[in-house]
């Protein structure tokens, strides 16, 4: 074991891990964090806490993570390279670890253009790969990125993201390999709707032996409506929603569409469980956290292992 | 304002608009005498500065008249002229001047009536807008220069 992370323990045990996420509130409302976490606490192994998601200012991810930690749960600290330079990020990592957070995700982050401060300067002092490297160096070598020694280094279980669907496809596995090489212990993928393409991706992942080096959690998002499906296809960069999925959603009445979306999510999990290299699932039920338990249960991922 | 007779400069290309003006004359079609034509080989020759300087020197309105789009004797001089006129219009707007004081027009050599009609319409528009706001200053300036 590299860390104290519960997620690491689950994954090492060989069980399929389940994670989900909580988006911190846009205000000093700690109850909101607790509420959301409570909805999913029994059905997941760890909870991602997003970092100024979609470039909108929110409660800082480490603070929200501490709230979750205080509930006795296991937060995953998301950290984007967009908002902080390497000094700020490293100090936040030490801070979070000091408050008991031991798992984190290293991300690029959406461009500021999309958020509520488009006039802000994106920092991007490091990129996500370099952040993975930095966290690993802090943990394994006990050194800051600049080379100085850390007194009691933070031991983070390191995650990174992968989008199997963004362009160019052929680069996607190579980019994953790069993140693994940089030191990623686990990967959460972008939402998967095009299962065929994802399976092809996983084949390539396995061909390179990456499944032996990293735990890959497949991203699952239940869709509420055909409109959402269309929106994701057309408006969200790097998203691949096949027309059949939209057709299937649109094929049922408006009232039945949420149920259909959940059904699709469950079927996807069931199919992907069998795919070599998939070590778990990351369920992103955006503003729909209450459905996570149902999905986890129906997909046969419940109860969660107790370690 | 009733007695206001604007001074209007029309940069006309040799091949079409200037010929159209001659046509209007040969057909004895009347148009406001306010319009004074300066002949150029192609409207593509008209620089934004020429238009600005005409206003600066006291023109109440300036227009550039070339061949019909697609018919330019020099391929695309008239489309370039249109872009420049639009540029000057934006500039004037920034200055708080009426962009309508400058315009681009297109006509073929045979369109004498059209020349006269556009000259009339443009003159009427300038009459509505009133005199070039710096005209009085220019007269002062000229007098100063003389004295």
């Amino acid at each position: 074991m590299k860390t104290e992370s519960k997620l690491e323990k689950v994954l090492t045990s060989g069980a399929l891990a389940v994670t989900s996420e909580v988006g911190p509130p846009r205000g000093a409302i700690p109850e909101k964090v607790r509420q959301k976490a409570t909805l999913i606490k029994d059905h997941v192994d760890a909870i991602n806490v997003t970092d100024n998601q979609t470039a909108m200012v929110r409660m800082s991810s480490w603070a929200a993570g501490v709230i979750i930690k205080q509930m006795g749960l296991d937060p995953i600290l998301q950290m984007v390279v967009r908002d902080r330079n390497r000094l700020a990020m490293q100090s936040d990592i030490i801070g979070a670890y000091s408050m008991g957070i031991n798992t984190m995700m290293c991300l690029s982050g959406d461009h500021v253009k999309f958020g509520d401060h488009p006039m802000a300067n994106g920092v991007f002092d490091l990129d996500s790969v370099q952040l993975v490297q930095t966290v690993k160096k802090m943990r394994d070598e006990g050194k800051f990125q600049g080379g100085a020694e850390i007194k009691t280094p933070p031991k983070m279980f390191i995650g990174a993201a992968a989008n199997p669907f963004a362009d160019p496809f052929e680069l996607r596995v190579m980019r994953l390999a790069k993140k693994v090489k940089a030191g990623a212990d686990f990967i959460q993928t972008q939402c998967i709707f095009n299962l065929d393409k994802f399976e092809k991706y996983m084949e390539m992942v396995c061909d390179r032996g990456l499944d032996q080096q990293v735990h890959l959690l497949a991203g699952i998002t239940p869709m509420k409506s055909a409109g959402m499906a269309r929106y994701m296809k057309n408006k969200v960069p790097g998203m691949d929603v096949p027309d059949e999925v939209i057709k299937r959603m649109a094929g049922v009445s408006k009232e039945e569409q949420p149920e259909e979306g959940i059904k699709i999510a469950i079927e996807s999990i069931q199919r992907l469980k069998e795919v070599k290299g998939v070590h778990g699932f990351h369920i992103m039920a955006i503003e729909w956290e209450e459905k996570v338990p149902q999905i986890v249960e129906k997909a046969g991922l419940f109860p969660r292992p107790v370690l | 304002m009733e007695n206001f007779e604007p001074e209007i400069v029309a940069f006309c290309c040799h091949y079409c608009a200037y010929t159209a003006a001659d046509m209007a004359g040969s057909k004895r079609i009347s148009y406001p005498s306010n319009v004074k034509i300066i002949r150029i080989p192609c409207t593509g020759k008209v620089d934004a500065i020429h238009i600005m300087k005409a206003l600066e020197k006291g023109a109440d309105g300036v227009y550039v008249a070339g061949c019909l789009e697609g018919d330019c004797h020099f391929k695309n001089g008239n489309t370039r002229a249109r872009h420049r006129v639009e540029y000057v219009q934006k500039y004037l707007e920034e200055l708080g001047w009426e962009p309508e004081r400058v315009a681009m027009m297109n006509m073929s050599a045979g369109m004498g009536e059209f020349f006269a009609r556009t000259a009339l319409e443009f003159t009427q528009k300038i009459k509505q807008l009133g005199p070039n706001p710096i005209k009085h200053m220019n007269i002062n300036k000229n007098q100063k220069a003389v004295s």
């Binding site: 390279v81 967009r82 390497r86 690029s108 982050g109 959406d110 461009h111 253009k113 999309f114 994106g122 991007f124 002092d125 490091l126 990129d127 996500s128 790969v129 370099q130 490297q133 930095t134 990125q145 993201a161 992968a162 989008n163 963004a166 362009d167 160019p168 680069l171 190579m174 980019r175 390999a177 790069k178 090489k181 940089a182 972008q190 960069p237 790097g238 998203m239 | 620089d47 934004a48 500065i49 600005m52 300087k53 206003l55 600066e56 500039y91 004037l92 920034e94 200055l95 708080g96 001047w97 706001p133 710096i134 200053m137 220019n138 002062n140 300036k141």
Partner: protein, 222 residues
């Protein structure tokens, strides 16, 4: 080339309003090439300012001059003969030119008439695009001649983020994804393996993170 764009007229007018005699100075280098501050733009701006002030009932005296290069003191020296007749200088050069003038003529206020934009290349007539951030540590040799610092919206050094679609950047369907371009180029060059190497965290000191930069050629300096 350094690119620039004329400032809004209102801003320029606000700067020079207090003065009666303006020396309007263009530059025959970059800003001429990008049609922001050459002889022609100097003429246009002078004309526009005249229109404005005359309308206000004011006559101001604008002297137009265009120097070969405003960022060289010797050329800036050419203003000497005119400087006494001016209350203020309005420069249409890039920031370098404005500062060279300010340094030489300390007693006269200098105002910029253009916004200096970026180091760019011309894509087609009238279109200029950013190509270099002047980061001081050129990595084009390993990125197939396409700069991720200048052309990736997130200056990512290790490949495209997840927002790429159809070769375009997430910020706009009109902006090409630098990493897609790099990858295509590397493939074409048979250098795919370049991509696999992790590019270490960039040292931003040469990019200006280490304070104002300077180049000294010992052999040339007097």
């Amino acid at each position: 080339m350094i690119t620039a764009e004329q400032k809004p007229l209102n801003e320029i007018i606000a700067y020079i309003s207090p003065y009666d005699r303006i020396l309007l100075v263009g530059c025959n280098e970059c800003v001429t090439v990008c049609s922001a501050g050459g002889r022609k733009e100097v003429g246009l701006l002078a004309s526009a300012l005249n229109l404005h002030f005359l309308k206000q009932g004011r006559t101001i005296d604008i002297k137009e001059m265009t120097l070969e290069r405003q960022c060289d003191p010797e050329y800036v020296e050419e203003l000497v003969s005119e400087i006494d007749r001016a209350d203020a200088i309005l420069s249409m050069a890039c920031g370098c030119g404005v500062q060279t003038i300010a340094e030489r003529y300390k007693e006269k206020p200098v105002f910029p008439a253009v916004n200096t934009k970026f180091m760019g290349a011309s894509e087609s007539q009238g279109v200029w695009v950013e190509r270099c951030k002047g980061c001081g540590d050129c990595m084009l040799g390993i990125t197939g001649g396409i700069c991720p610092v200048a052309r990736c919206s997130k200056h990512l050094l290790n490949g495209p983020c997840g927002g790429t679609s159809n070769g375009m950047c997430e910020i706009s369907p009109d902006v090409e994804c630098a990493w897609c371009l790099i990858w295509e180029r590397l493939k074409a060059l048979g250098m795919e393996n370049r991509y696999e190497e992790i590019m270490e965290a960039k040292d931003w000191r040469p990019a200006g993170g280490g304070g104002p930069r300077k180049i000294i050629r010992e052999d040339l300096s007097l």
